[in-house]
């Protein structure tokens, strides 16, 4: 009978930024013998390639780790480099970096909610069939993405691999007319934002709970911390970002060649749901209202609702960005702060041997960059810990609890549910669309 089944399930996906991974599930006579999620680092070797490059080039190079969160990589890289160099960014620069991060969250979350998560829930393999059946929704998604892309282009020259954001500040600052354009574009999204909330309200997510530790940036001020903060957890841990290794504790599991992470218990969760669980009191009032409407309450232990937490963050970042822009418009930017780029070839910035850590929330969780430089400002050692890698261990423990709960379902439903769980973590856009070659033997 289907209850005491044998299940041999292998899911493979091809190399990604975070590496490539396999799901291996083995069920014999209804007993789970194996339920693992393996990730293999991709052979791009960024940390190795950075050695010998100027610390001033690190942002440009590490932005290329991931096209989807290239702005996030840039910001983590800049934070690490500035700390190593002893450069302190101005209040204006920090404000603009926060605006950039808002745009990054909007872009990435919109893509995930609409083009990756929604098709699952509507029962189609991708957004392409939706062009016929839900044309208005697809158009809205693409329109919103384009709008965010456009404001990002104005702010940093380009959303994929930002041009103007560098160590010390920005090579070009948006002019007053361009601030107005950004405001106009964002204000024009208001209707689509309301529709997005409606869509999220209509989506139904699987009921599943597993208590785990949630890790995100935390701070003592009233702002929802994305760019700056200490590393905190729902188990009460708190570390300064220079101690990020105490918060990640990378280890090799003999079953897998991937590096796993853990903190207070067997695994932890990073991403929108972790941020919501730790910092929901600091969300924008409109985002708090959205969370209430969507029924999301901290501490939520259902990983499928990470997508809902992303919708709440879409609302937060949208209104936070509008407020930043209005503030910038009112107070005007100081254009004297534009900085000149270059691998410091004229020695205009004093360099020193040092070390710096960047810890920045990006759409999928905390991203760490760490560089050590020599006295000439050349990188001696680099370390980047990417959110998806931190979540792998947690996904595996989720699998172990989820599988027995759904084992009586038809095999297609099991496969879809496991894929949906992985997609809920938004591990990396193409990875999550790639859980395809599933083989069942029963």
């Amino acid at each position: 009978m289907s209850t005491a089944k044998n299940l041999d399930l292998k899911v493979e996906y091809v190399t990604r930024v975070e590496g490539h991974g396999n799901i291996v599930v083995n069920v014999k006579d209804g007993k789970i013998e194996k339920c693992e999620f393996h990730v293999v680092e991709s052979p791009r070797l960024f940390e190795g390639m950075l050695r010998g490059r100027s610390i001033f080039e690190a942002q440009h190079i590490t932005s290329r780790i991931c096209g989807i969160c290239s702005c996030g990589h840039s910001l983590a890289s800049i934070q690490a480099a500035e700390e190593a160099l002893g450069v302190v960014p101005s209040a204006q620069t920090i404000k603009l970096r926060k605006l950039l991060l808002d745009y990054e969250f909007l872009d990435s979350h919109i893509l995930h909610v609409y083009l990756l998560a929604a098709p699952d829930i509507l029962g189609v393999p991708s957004f392409v069939p939706l062009i016929e059946t839900h044309n208005g929704v697809v158009r809205r998604a693409l329109r919103m993405k384009k709008a965010v892309n456009d404001v990002c282009d104005i702010l940093v020259g380009r959303h994929v691999h930002p041009i103007t954001a560098i160590v010390g500040g920005f090579t070009k600052l948006p002019r007053p007319r361009e601030i107005d354009t950004q405001l106009r574009i964002l204000e024009g999204m208001a209707g689509d934002m309301a529709e997005t909330l409606k869509l999220a309200n209509a989506l139904k997510f699987p009921d599943f709970n597993r208590e785990t530790e949630y890790v995100a940036l935390v701070s003592d001020d009233g702002e929802y911390p994305l760019l700056e903060g200490d590393i905190g957890s729902t188990d009460g841990k708190r570390f300064a970002r220079k101690d990020y290794k105490k918060a990640t504790n990378e280890f090799i599991d003999p079953r897998s060649s991937a590096k796993f992470t853990r903190l207070s218990r067997e695994s932890f969760f990073v991403g929108a749901l972790a941020r919501f669980n730790l910092n929901s009191a600091k969300l924008h009032a409109r985002a708090k209202a959205a969370a209430k409407e969507l029924g999301l309450k901290p501490v939520c232990h259902n990983p499928f609702l990470n997508t809902v937490a992303q919708v709440v963050e879409i609302v937060h970042c949208y209104h936070h960005a509008l407020e930043l822009l209005r503030d910038i418009k009112k107070n005007c930017l100081d254009y004297g702060q534009e900085v000149t780029v270059g691998a410091n070839e004229k020695g205009t910035v004093p360099v020193r041997a040092g070390s710096g850590v960047g810890a920045v929330e990006v759409p999928r969780g905390i991203l760490y960059h760490n560089y050590q430089t020599d006295a000439a400002g050349l990188i001696k050692h680099a370390d980047c810990i990417i959110p998806t890698n931190q979540n792998i261990n947690n996904i595996e423990y989720d699998f172990a609890k989820l599988l027995p709960e759904i084992i009586t379902l038809p095999k297609e439903a099991i496969r879809l549910r496991l894929e949906m769980l992985v997609r809920a973590y938004d591990p990396c856009i193409s990875c999550s669309a790639h859980y395809l070659d599933v083989e069942f033997v029963d």
Binding site: V14, T15, R16, V17, E41, P43, R44, L45, E47, G48, M49, R51, G52, R53, H60, I61, R64, I65, C66, G67, I68, S70, L111, L115, L116, P125, S126, F127, V128, I131, E132, R139, L142, R143, K145, K146, N149, G157, R158, H159, V160, H161, I163, T164, T171, K172, I252, S257, E338, T340, V341, G342, A343, E345, K346, I429, S430, A433, H434, L436
Partner: protein
């Protein structure tokens, strides 16, 4: 009825597939970022595979295969050769595919040494070969340069590919566009820039935004003419320029081994 018509329309449209190898997938994202214009593109082609946003798979030949990323392991090489065998036209897009891009910096190190520096003693678990752009492995029919690609150029190249027309990139340096955009020359601002040696076509995207050119579109055919003049006038250290070029163009050293 509607479905039958759309199925018939889809059958008549050229089958286009997008693939990625070692890269950041930012060029795919540039395609997604076309916004609603993407739907116009989708109206004339039938995208049969596009990993970034689709779960669908296709098992017949492709009219056009669009390839992103570099070849950095044996598995990728085999996969690329299979795709080439199934494709009438092959487009390499983005620096990783056209010139190796940032992945090429790996080739500046001893392979086992750099692998070990990242993965420690278990480095052999992860296969890794020297980085190669697509044309060093299979025949490439069209290229779209840039890191990331400039979306209007991809649309132009797609149009040419679908009609069987040639597409050529003018052999001018980025400076030719930069001057028209009235940017202050980065050399006059005291910073060295790779614009004089890098192929135009990006509308001097980075310099317009106050940054330098990093050479992501590859070199013009004969860079040495410009090089002598600029290096002389600004008293540049050749090793500085070489190091800057290596960020994107290190794989060019492998071109001499390719007999195409």
């Amino acid at each position: 009825m509607k479905t039958e018509n759309s199925a018939a329309r889809a059958a008549a449209r050229p089958k286009v597939a997008f693939f990625d190898f070692a890269c950041c997938e930012g060029c795919q994202l540039q395609v997604a970022n076309l916004g609603e214009a993407l739907l116009d593109v989708l109206g004339v082609i039938d995208v049969v595979e596009f990993r970034e946003v689709m779960s669908e798979k296709y098992d017949k030949d492709y009219d056009v295969a669009v390839i992103e990323g570099s070849i950095t392991d044996r598995h990728a090489e085999e996969r690329l050769k299979k795709i080439r065998a199934r494709s009438k036209v092959l487009i390499a897009y983005g620096s990783c595919a056209t010139i190796g891009g940032v992945n090429g910096m790996k080739n500046s190190f001893d392979l086992d040494e750099i692998r070990q520096s990242v993965y420690g003693k278990d480095f052999k678990l992860f296969d890794s070969t020297p980085t190669r752009p697509i044309h060093q492995v299979v025949k490439v029919d069209y290229t779209v340069n840039g890191c990331p690609i400039y979306p209007p150029e991809l649309v132009e190249v797609l149009k040419c590919a679908l009609r069987g027309l040639p597409y050529t990139v003018p052999d001018n340096p980025v400076c030719s566009e930069c001057k028209l955009n009235e940017n202050v020359c980065m050399y006059e601002r005291g910073v060295s820039c790779l614009g004089p040696w890098t192929k135009a076509g990006c509308n001097s995207w980075c310099v317009n935004n106050g940054n330098i050119c990093y050479g992501c579109r590859g070199e013009v055919k004969n860079p040495s003419g410009n090089a002598l003049e600029v290096i002389g006038r600004y008293n540049l250290k050749p090793e500085l320029i070489k190091s800057k070029f290596d960020m994107y163009n290190k794989c060019k050293e492998g071109d001499k081994d390719v007999n195409r």
